[in-house]
């Protein structure tokens, strides 16, 4: 994979400019934290990177990057277990044991096969995080992945993310920068318009 070049990105919503001529470089395999007050465009930037939103100007290079992501909401398949959430994005029934082993780094064994609706909000969030890391991708994006997690779980989850990103570029937006001070994130911020 090459570095990801974000060049002169501009996004407006009506008369409001969210960001203008934003340029960033994400080095291949880099670990990035994105922090900015609410409304500054963190989610919008991630959606543009994933190709879910077309910017008003600028570009993201190279094309064809394989993304995996944790969205602002969990977006888990209703009625399916945590293991099935993973197998939906990669693998088949044969990979079930591997998926179980992977998830057991974040969740208790007895919660892996329950429909996700029966898990707590924090557990569902961790399933979404595990799914993003389990998927085959070049770059992992995470939009406020630690929402709803207490401090101890946040640290355990952060460690899980670092262990399992397997050299992929990772960009994570968060309001909880101070709780991640011990981790080797390079911090980016979005300027006020």
């Amino acid at each position: 994979m090459m570095d990801i070049q974000i060049r002169n990105l501009t996004q407006r919503f009506g008369s409001k400019t969210v960001f203008r001529d934003l340029s960033l470089t994400l080095e291949d395999g880099g670990l990035y934290g994105l922090t900015a007050p609410s409304g500054r465009g963190k989610t919008t930037l991630l959606r543009i990177l994933m190709g879910l939103q077309k910017p008003d100007g600028g570009s993201v290079q190279p094309a064809g990057i394989r993304w995996s992501a944790v969205f602002q909401t969990d977006r888990l398949l209703p009625g399916r277990s945590a293991v099935e959430q993973l197998l939906f994005v990669r693998g088949s029934r044969r990979d079930r044991d591997n998926a179980c082993a992977f998830l057991s780094g974040l969740l208790l064994e007895n919660s892996l096969h329950q429909p996700v609706e029966q898990l707590s909000g924090g557990m569902q969030r961790r399933v979404a995080i595990a799914r993003a890391l389990w998927a085959e991708s070049d770059c992992v994006l995470m939009d406020e992945p630690f929402t709803g997690l207490d401090e101890a779980t946040l640290r355990q989850t952060a460690q899980f993310i670092l262990t399992n990103r397997q050299g992929r570029t990772l960009l994570l937006s968060t309001h909880q920068k101070e709780l991640l001070a011990d981790y080797p994130f390079r911090w980016l911020s979005l300027p006020e318009e």
Partner: protein, 249 residues
């Protein structure tokens, strides 16, 4: 100990059935003319006389085959056109007036037109198809449109293959709509199919037997054939719902 819920439901169902059988018996006693209004006992007697005959089974199988074929073709076509219209907006715009027309044109008009164009042999098949198709088409469209956009975005970002997205995201959104409309479409296809058979009187059909019952004023037999239709339609509906629910999970 309290009776189990299923026993309670069964008991309640039995009581309701007995209540309506009582009303039926009372009404037949009030009319007091078996040639106009057969009693439950007369109907049961007529049914027990019909069941061992070859004609009964040939007629049942004939109608069952024709109406089921029409229903299945309507289901398949409705589903295919619904999916295609969801995918291609132009096709949807093109089909919209035709399917709305199919939904609103009286069944009797269809029956007469089909009789004129194709004769009676395929009448029940085509009528059942025309009744089922628009119902399934519109419910398939509604189901697909109710699919969670957030989940579709997730599948797009993760490059989940189309087949897996269809099975894992579209199917669960579609099935509740399809299950509901299938049940009502099946009932409607039997009603319309039998009505078509009574008018067209194709050989080896329940409709033909009902028509003959009317001609010979054999009201108990007419009631027995009606009971047969109700029984067939109910059993098929339950089987279909069970199948669709297993596909929906």
């Amino acid at each position: 100990m309290k009776p189990a819920k299923s026993t309670k439901t069964l008991r309640r169902g039995l009581l309701v059935t007995l209540f309506w059988l009582g009303i039926w018996q009372a009404a037949s006693m009030l009319v007091a003319k078996p040639v106009l209004f057969a009693s439950p006992l007369d109907t049961l007697k007529a049914l027990l006389e019909l069941i061992p005959t070859g004609d009964y089974w040939r007629s049942v199988l004939g109608s069952l085959g024709r109406i089921s074929l029409g229903f299945l073709l309507g289901l398949l076509l409705g589903l295919l056109l619904g999916v295609a219209s969801f995918r291609f907006r132009l096709l949807r715009t093109l089909l919209s007036p035709l399917l709305t027309l199919m939904k609103t044109v009286p069944v009797a008009s269809f029956i007469i037109l089909i009789l004129v164009w194709f004769g009676s042999a395929w009448l029940a098949v085509i009528v059942a198809l025309l009744i089922v198709l628009p119902q399934i088409y519109f419910s398939a469209l509604s189901g697909l449109e109710s699919t969670d956009r957030a989940l579709l975005e997730f599948a797009k970002v993760f490059r989940v293959p189309g087949g897996r997205t269809a099975w894992g995201i579209y199917r669960p959104a579609l099935m509740p709509y399809l299950t509901g409309s299938c049940a009502s479409a099946l009932g409607m296809s039997w009603k319309a199919g039998i009505a078509a058979e009574v008018i067209g009187t194709p050989l080896r059909s329940i409709g033909e037997q009902m028509y003959l019952s009317k001609v010979y004023m054999a009201t108990a037999e007419l009631f027995a054939w009606t009971m047969t239709v109700i029984l067939l339609s109910t059993v098929l509906e339950k089987l279909l719902l069970r199948l669709l629910r297993s596909l929906g999970t």
